[in-house]
């Protein structure tokens, strides 16, 4: 699973992108727990503030990860509930937030990403 944060906007209109491969981090389980806790479908709405940053946060499962997990879910005889990260690893998630909304678990995820990876600058604007 990769976590990708793309920060765009700002008065300079420059984009920065951070990418972290969660599975190569020393504590992947903590990442998956955090990703599982984030209310992805409920990114709070707020009017954009001129020149303030916009954050697009994405989780991208690696090739095959979703497939493994689907098999896991289909196993009726599995007595234990799946570990939280199995859930989190299964699906691609995405949310776009204004800087003011980047609080709580969102902020925690971004701070972790920023600590774990150096940002890449520029690149073509995303469609």
């Amino acid at each position: 699973m990769d976590v990708i944060v793309s920060r765009s906007g700002g008065i300079a209109g420059l984009r920065l992108t951070w990418r972290v491969d969660v599975d190569t981090q020393p504590d992947p389980d903590r990442w998956y727990v955090l990703i599982g806790e984030i209310p992805w479908e409920e990114a709070p709405a707020a009017p954009p503030e001129p020149d303030r940053y916009t954050y697009r946060i994405r989780c991208e499962p690696h090739e095959g990860a979703a497939h493994e997990d689907a098999g896991h879910e289909g196993d009726d005889h599995e007595p234990t509930s799946p570990k939280p990260h199995d859930d989190a690893a299964a699906e691609a998630r995405e949310a776009t937030l204004a800087e003011r909304q980047l609080t709580g678990p969102w902020r925690e995820l971004f701070d972790r990403v920023r600590e774990a990876a150096e940002p890449q600058r520029g690149g073509r604007a995303e469609r």
Binding site: A12, R52, T54, G122
Partner: protein, 354 residues
Amino acid sequence: MPPWLLDRIAAADPQYPTAAEAARRSLLRDGPMREWRNAAEPPPFAERETDARTPSILAESVRPDRRISDAGGEESLPGRLVRREGEPPTGDTAADQAYDGLGETHRLFARVFDRDAIDGAGGALEATVHFGDHYDNAFWDGERMVFGDGDGEVFRGFTESLSVVGHELAHGVTERTARLRYSGQSGALNEHISDVFGALVEQYAMGQDAAAATWLIGEGVFTSAVQGRALRDMLNPGTAYDDDVLGRDPQPAHFRDYIETTDDNGGVHLNSGIPNRAFALAARELGGFAWEHAGRIWYDALTSGRLRPTDGFHVFAAETVRAAEQRYGADSREARAVDAAWREVGIEPPEPRA
């Protein structure tokens, strides 16, 4: 004597009381004459004549009400109030640059556009400096201008540039007038308006005419390590920087190169290059001081009450042509220059909305 210089002397009364008083009298006397000289024909409406006299009278009486706060490197607002209107410099560069920059911006709006502060009613101009830790940005949060110190590697402090300070204050003016929605084309117009008045504040403060002006936004915010002149170039969008780390200035200069993107609220800081170039072309075609013609036309369009929040480039172009016709006459060189400038960036102004 050029009006901008008179304004500056008039504003400097503590040091030069006699000269300041003389300059103010001269402004009052010459204001209407300057209007008439600049107009290709007499104003079409009687109230225009009255309007034209108002700025210098307003400028006599209004003073900004500035309040500068210091966030102390935290990301919380407003921070600690460090300088109120009329108080001496704090010695903190960012706080004093913000104070001075807001003063210059207030002066342009009051003296040239007859607008007293953001709300047009002398409301406070509030700014916070030292926001965040190495924060690479400046923004308008709906109530105040907020300035970061920059990371020191790519960006220096954002109060270094008068056009950036003017840009932020102009966001407040747009919010109180045309309310252009900050997304897609209307968002790029919102950005464009801020660049226009940011550039005009700098030109007015420096007494630069359209030919001498740099048309740069944010000159001075990059460190010397960056291969670039500024954040944006209004006259030649896409040429402000070309740097190993930052990449190349991505702004389009023509409507055929409009960038569709989900970044940056739909590329508001990218596509503003298109109307920016139209403004700079019109101003240079007309010559002289940009705030005396193109700036007035744009301000008229912004404050006409005719724009809707979701309007795009074409409607805005039509409104600027209409504003030029209203102020200077239907076939005036001002109206023709504005129309031609839009066409040059690929926007054919339609008939204005009824």
